[in-house]
Subunit: 294 residues, 2 copies
């Protein structure tokens, strides 16, 4: 079932990381951002935002992370703009991690997987974020579709905001915290995917397709073995939400080459001027790259 | 901030319940359902599904629950069909609980609230579902928008599938299960909303705007005081996913008049013939009404 190793999201990320570094440019066209760019808070403003993003991102960053909420709030026209953004970036060789945080019961996840994963999907991205409140074991549709299409999956494990700590640290019947239990399941899934790829004749992959959203905002991951997950980490909350490049380096000391640090507001505020946006991305990109180079 | 009491979602549900009973018709146009209705699995098929739903639901059911996943998988055209469904139902006097299960950090939830709550929202529904993995306290944008617009909110607390139990039963630092902790927060929010409404001169509302998704599939809610939440309960999983009307009656024995039992597949399978769909809704509606009449 696993696609050829060179087609996996982890391999594609490895390639763009070598060229542009690991920094992810978050694309959050909130009402306030559109206004600060002198754009109207409507579908036209959103299309203009997409134009700037498509003109600027390729060449300066390897990965972008559009936030679906700020497209959904413009209805179907917002989704149309998002489709143009996703396909335009991918055509230009920029990886797209679509931040949708979906997650439901199994049969409903079939619908979400059909929307966001694979070449037939209208919003087919390189990777998406998913939310495990209904149980990570209910996410079979996402796991299979990601494997089949060489896409990545980022399950929210530790979010950047303080309000998520109570739930994410809670302890289940198995004596493990919610976070630890999710990381363990991801490790098992990645191990199986890597074995399967090896059995199919591909090089055994070091990094599997199933990643975690894991912020560096809450200090060191005590008692959690991040490297053992064998997947990528999307680390939001850089800049405006709190974490510094040094926090990143400390949190991901065991697997610095598997981190996708993401910043949105702190970079977009430099726009819409392409030169200033480029400078902001380049400055933070350098900081992050050297912090994670260890 | 609270709107006039007669405009609240709880009051609107009370009115449709008196007329049609509590049953919610789930609208899940999955690929398999479209095919079984003789429709293509594309945007045209989805539009035809919406036509049948708009022709049939008004007059036979008080509330519908469209599942966003099965619209999203058709891209922007799917969202356009969903907008037509939502506005058409509301114009016909049918309440719409839009099942989107959104939930993110605070600033992103502003975007989701702008998409789904209030008269300015392109997909403004009577109520929506939200997922609390990032913390219920991060949902301020949803709480305020719901209060301001007289909309309802259903926070997923206990989902219908078995895979959610480990996380939903996990115990936090406060010694409470995730479920208990969510219900307590909802109770506090509802109490505050009711006090505010009373202070503004409205009748003190018995039922606040903040509800829970809570299934009857997992037996009696041991150690949880559902009535004390002072909100509505959306109970999915009736029929195809497992719960019977008797399970509903047992689970919600303390607040049988605050339950919105929802069935999708088991009803839609009777379509697309309007007469057979009507009969199926009417038969299950009678069962549910008498089970919850106590």
């Amino acid at each position: 079932m696993a696609g050829p190793a060179q087609d996996s999201f982890a391999r594609r990320f490895e390639a763009v990381r070598a060229k542009h570094g690991p920094l992810v440019l978050g694309l959050d066209p909130a009402a306030s951002l559109l206004r600060s760019w002198g754009l109207p808070d409507d579908a036209d403003g959103l299309e203009a935002f997409v134009d700037v993003a498509l003109d600027t991102a390729p060449g300066i960053v390897g990965t972008v992370k559009p936030q679906s909420a700020f497209f959904e709030c413009h209805g179907w026209q917002g989704i149309k703009a998002l489709q143009r953004l996703v396909s335009g970036m991918r055509e230009a060789g920029v990886l797209v991690v679509l931040d949708v945080k979906r997650g439901d019961v199994g049969s409903t996840n079939d619908g979400y997987a059909a929307a966001y994963l694979g070449s037939e999907a209208p919003l087919g991205a390189d990777a998406i974020t998913v939310t495990p409140y209904l149980g990570i074991e209910a996410m079979g549709a996402f796991f299979s579709a990601a494997l089949r299409s060489g896409s990545g999956l980022f399950v929210v494990v530790r979010s950047s905001n303080p309000e998520g700590r109570l739930l994410q640290r809670a302890v289940g019947d198995d004596g493990q915290s919610v976070e630890a239990s999710l990381l363990r399941t991801l490790a098992e899934r990645n191990a199986a995917a890597c074995r399967e790829a090896a059995a199919a004749g591909a090089d055994e992959r070091q990094v599997g397709p199933f990643g975690a959203v894991f912020t560096a905002n809450h200090g060191r991951p005590e008692n959690l073995d991040l490297a053992a997950m064998r997947g990528l980490f999307l680390a939001p909350g850089l800049g405006a939400q709190g974490a510094s490049p040094a926090d990143l380096a400390e949190c991901f000391a065991s697997c610095p080459d598997r981190v996708l640090p993401s910043a949105s507001r702190s970079l977009l505020e430099a726009g819409p001027d392409a030169g200033r946006l480029r400078d902001a991305v380049s400055a933070l990109g350098d900081e992050v790259r050297s912090a994670l180079a260890g």
